[in-house]
């Protein structure tokens, strides 16, 4: 992708300034400025755009505990910040340019849907994005992609309109004119192709990092079934995330724009198809990267997907028995209530539980000292 950027700068410079160097300098300047903004601001921009709310330990102890468990399993140095996005769509993402200032965000819909093991799998996937520095890699890649798209867009428009209004350059000399036209045509074709090529490369990198994060999640939890069954729940829902956009898509655990029945070998997606990710996770005989690689070649055919350096020989046994079992775990209705309690509290609503069982949500602007239960008529202090 870097090479594409350099080429585009080269052609732009050759055409507009008769010097490739100037074009190169401009391309690299644009890229550098965007990168700096992206490097220092991307996480706060992303969190603000998705309207995520930060939670503390007491807001949702189970979520906090699960994140802390995965922080310990991955050996992350600092506890990541946890955010909840108030959205019924099922999704989660991680952000933060280095492992020391990471954040994990999850939608309230997903929080309700998943049991503890599944939640652990999803959080492990997100934490491994942080641990593998995918957030930084993907934001740098998307900035590179953005630069190429911007330059190609403006470059091609100016070229087309410039040549229509009787170009000043080609008329200067006869022999030079022909060379100019060749450069014009080559540059134009390249301007059109470059963004597409860049996009395809970008998608390929993104999908590879998703596989790596799945493998790391299995390694951290020693329980690939947790993530697999979470992905299954994610896959059956088609609700699209309102606050996601194209630029932030690769950060999520599943593609926020997916449609039903997406083809298996889709080149134009940031994520591998969910059904394939589930099949790989379920085919794992152990929890190591090596096991994931073997499961991948079994499901997919051909070579594995893991970077060769990270594969240590041998396998790691799976956790067969979960210690605490299912005892004391809230069911889906309880989880839904719990999550809605948290969301009300995060919007500064005061919740009063009446003796008759009704829950009164008192808005922050409520001024009266007492409130009457609309169900049974008892009065409560606010």
């Amino acid at each position: 992708m870097g090479a594409l950027l350099i080429l585009i700068g080269y052609f732009l410079g050759l055409y507009f300034f008769d010097s490739a160097i100037v074009g190169l300098v401009i391309a690299i300047l644009v890229w550098a400025v965007l990168s700096l903004i992206g490097y220092f601001q991307s996480d706060s921009i992303l969190l603000r755009m998705s309207r995520a709310k930060k939670i503390k330990r007491d807001d949702h102890p189970r979520l906090y505990n699960v994140v802390e468990e995965m922080k310990i399993a991955s050996g992350l140095e600092k506890m990541p910040d946890i955010y909840i996005i108030d959205d019924p769509a099922l999704n989660a993402f991680a952000t933060g340019r280095d492992p020391k200032r990471a954040s994990v965000a999850i939608t309230s819909g997903l929080l309700q849907k998943l049991n503890r093991d599944e939640l652990q799998g999803v959080i492990a996937h997100e934490i491994s994005h942080v641990k593998n520095r995918d957030v930084l890699l993907m934001s740098m890649c998307s900035i590179l992609l953005g630069t190429i798209v911007i330059l190609a867009w403006y470059g091609s428009r100016i070229m087309i309109f410039g040549s229509m209004t009787g170009s000043r350059r080609s008329s200067s000399s006869g022999g030079g004119g022909q060379a100019q036209i060749i450069i014009l045509v080559v540059s134009l074709v390249f301007m059109i192709l470059a963004p597409i090529m860049a996009q395809l490369i970008y998608f390929a990198i993104s999908r590879k990092r998703e596989y790596l994060a799945d493998a790391s999640a299995a390694l951290y939890t020693r329980y690939p079934e947790g993530l697999a069954s979470a992905l299954k729940k994610l896959g059956t829902s088609t609700g699209q995330l309102k606050s996601a956009n194209k630029a932030t898509a690769p950060m999520y655990i599943v593609n926020p724009f997916r449609k039903k029945g997406m083809k298996a070998s889709d080149l134009s997606s940031t994520h591998p198809p969910i059904s394939e990710r589930i099949r790989i996770l379920r085919a794992m005989a152990g929890a190591s990267f090596n096991d994931y690689d073997q499961a991948y070649s079994k499901v997919h055919g051909g070579k594995g997907v893991m970077p060769a350096a990270s594969i240590a020989a041998g396998t790691v046994p799976l956790a067969t028995v979960k210690l605490e079992g299912g005892a004391g775990e809230p069911n889906e209705i309880q989880r839904a209530r719990e999550t809605s309690d948290v969301m009300w509290r995060l919007s500064n609503y005061n919740t009063i539980t009446c003796d008759c069982g009704a829950k009164l949500r008192v808005p922050p602007k409520f001024k009266e000292p007492v409130i009457k239960c609309p169900h049974c008529g008892r009065t409560h202090q606010v």
């Binding site: 102890p61 189970r62 505990n65 699960v66 802390e68 468990e69 995965m70 310990i72 399993a73 991955s74 050996g75 951290y220 020693r222 067969t320 028995v321 210690l323 605490e324 079992g325 005892a327 004391g328």
Partner: protein, 188 residues
Amino acid sequence: MNVAVYIIIGVVVVLLIIFLAIYNGLVRRRNQVKNSWAQIDVQLKRRYDLIPNLVETAKGYMKHERETLEAVTNARNLAQQLSSAGAGERAKAEGELSSVLSRLLAVVENYPDLKANQNFLALQEELASTENKISFSRQFYNDSVLKYNNQTQMFPSNIVASMTGFKASEFFEVTLAAEREAPKVSFT
């Protein structure tokens, strides 16, 4: 003549740089092992603190489980006493504690009143999570020990390790009765 001297100096400098790089790598790995050991310790201490609260809350509801509750308390006290002992002895006591705890949490299923108690549920979540954190920190510790030990034993870093006194570390193995055989929980 001069050229030979330069070559020798160059080789020595390169060797020195390699030596320092390996040495620093070993120090980093050893610190990680120490660090992850401290992590396990934090979680084990947290478990000692949680258990009395849990037993106190459960006591009122579980009239017929006096033995189980006492077993938990005893195992906890024993584990706490052995907390300054060596890794092997300690791991055994902690494993015992884990298995009586999982027995207690399985028995809780028979007491619907207790399961409805918010305070108990919060404690149970904390305890279950602490159990997970113990096993995850143990997992991370063992991974760190494996990497460190490999480095102290493999060529060429083993030369540096033996010269500067890096010794292999001990794994934290817990053989839980509960991990070997699935607990039999009946929901009748």
